[in-house]
């Protein structure tokens, strides 16, 4: 009888402990997070600012305004500055070596380097959307290689004479009538989502 009472007491304590444990788990504060769109928008704010600074304060100033040094695709051979698009890609590749939490590229419907043409449906739709809807971004979900991504596409505009002269004059350009302010391409940011 005494043993039965002890077992019942132990059982009740265990149940209580379990209940407390469960409720403690339920009541644990939810870890603060950031939704993929805000995350992508924030990344783009940094990327587009850095890109604009390099294009305007370095390339356009030194090449077009002060004529001190040229920017060249073969910047090492030509002892020149890397092109703004290369600068952007080098950063993207370095990021890819450090993290898989996001990735980004600079793509275009009129790419000089054909590897930068849209590949996926979302890329195509996104680039067409940002060209047709100035000032708006494009967001979509997509699945690539069995993984799901939140994909954002942002307009990349011609912000300096250097952008326009280089793209319009390049031997491999498919379009030669860009003007300052035109959307020349788009920044595609992907965030893997579970």
């Amino acid at each position: 009888m005494r043993a039965t009472r002890m077992m019942m007491t132990a059982g009740a304590m265990a149940a209580l402990a379990l209940t407390i444990g469960c409720s403690a788990k339920e009541e644990a504060p939810v870890k603060a997070g950031i939704d993929p769109q805000t995350f992508a928008d924030s990344l783009f704010a940094v990327m587009s600012s850095d890109r604009a600074v390099y294009t305007q304060k370095v390339v356009n100033r030194l090449q077009n305004d002060e004529k001190v040094i040229k920017a060249s695709e073969h910047f090492e051979d030509d002892k020149a500055l890397p092109l703004p698009a290369q600068m952007f890609r080098f950063g993207a590749e370095m990021v890819a070596e450090k993290t898989d939490k996001f990735s980004y590229q600079l793509l275009s419907l009129w790419p000089i380097n054909k590897q930068n043409a849209p590949e996926t449906d979302v890329e195509k739709k996104g680039l067409e959307y940002i060209v047709a809807n100035p000032g708006k971004n494009f967001y979509a979900d997509e699945e690539l290689g069995g993984k799901k991504y939140f994909t954002a596409v942002y307009a990349d505009k011609a912000i300096a004479p250097a952008c326009v002269t280089c793209h319009n004059g390049h031997k491999d350009t498919p379009r030669k009538d860009f003007k300052i302010g035109d959307t020349m391409g788009g920044v595609v940011i992907r965030v893997p989502v579970s």
Partner: protein, 471 residues
Amino acid sequence: MAGKRKTRWLWALWGVPTLLLLGFAALTMAYGGPRHLLLIGKTSDAHHQIELACNACHTRWFSGRAAIETACQSCHAEDLKASKDNHPAKKFSDPRNADRLTKLDATKCLTCHIEHRPEVTGTMAVTLPADFCGACHADIGKDRPSHTGLAFTSCSNAGCHNFHDNRALYEDFLEKHLDEPAVKTAPRVSLIDWRPEEGAPAKPAAAQISDAPASIATDAHVTADWLASGHARGGVNCSGCHQPPGARAGNAASWIAKPGLAQCATCHAAQARGFTQGKHGMRLADDMWTARRAPFGLVADRKLGPMQPELARLPMKPAAHGRALVCTTCHQAHDFNTRKAKVEACASCHDDRHSKAYFASSHYRQWRAELAGTAPPGSGVNCATCHMPRMLGRGEDGVERPLVNHNQNDNLRPNEKMARAVCMDCHGLGFTLDALADRPLIDRNFKGRPSVHVESIDWVRRRVRQRGEAP
């Protein structure tokens, strides 16, 4: 009952030797032994010298391909970076390449290069079918109508493209060097006139009296050789090579009778690093073990040891067999005659057609003229001019100067790598690419004119004309 016992014996008869064999194989792989018996196929030309140092590539047990990939990178990453690799892994890690990677995973070395598979190993140790470019570039004709209909087997074997290194092959480079003459007006190696920057450290005073310990017998011939060497002129005394760093010059107890790579590397670190990356010295690289210490002293640590000519797959002179390749094999001790190291040392071992034909080539004639003083410095071409070129680099002291690249593999495969670093000092790009694509001409050590023509330069010229620009 008897049948059951018989079965048990048969199991034992099969099981015990099998377990013993498996144990022996595992011990051999882990610690050493007759590892050649365990090779699963002929190793490629690139790695055959180090095939018994299994741990050089198979760095960890049960780690699969990932460990081998890491090993590939540990030896080749630096070279790939320097070659401005056109297909680095980082280019393909982006999710938008997921479809491409299912066809051909370009992020992994082992997709294209698998060792011990001689039956499928082709040029550049590639183990994929030669049309592999088509996996990703099937629609190249859309961007380049000139490429429509070309076989994908011809991308890399026509002198037009390489997978990794296209520094001398990219379109704008070809355009920049269109219509260059076969031989330039004043053909000379580019760094012959190099002078140190202002403010570079001054050369130390020459050493004139040997600082070897009195108890070490010094041959007069040895002293004379040393006094005439660059070492003495640069203030490097006996103790510079024969004493460990920090030891007193006259200390007989710490005297190193035969200084090796480690001693040379104290001053010539860049050259030593290059040497251990090439075919001459790769067996002396770090961690090239054929045996590791086993419990109970069953096996002792043993390194691969230096390369010997008879281990090479290229023809070598029988008289050179048994020679161990260390720094002094080519440079000799004490006189360190760099002229000998540039031709005589090479010819004392190498016995292939290209090496033998050198002595009948115009390159050799020019080298003789330079040595005789009838041609300007830098106009002669010796073995080292092409295979161990002088390149601007920074030594351990951070000072920029021409350094001899002791990795003779560095510009050898694919041979277009030699174009910019060497050939174009004297020859035009078009002639260079044609010559490098002509195997019989290479065998004749470039005696004669190329009979092969690499058309890519013509295609570039055509594009320039289509744009309405000269020429």
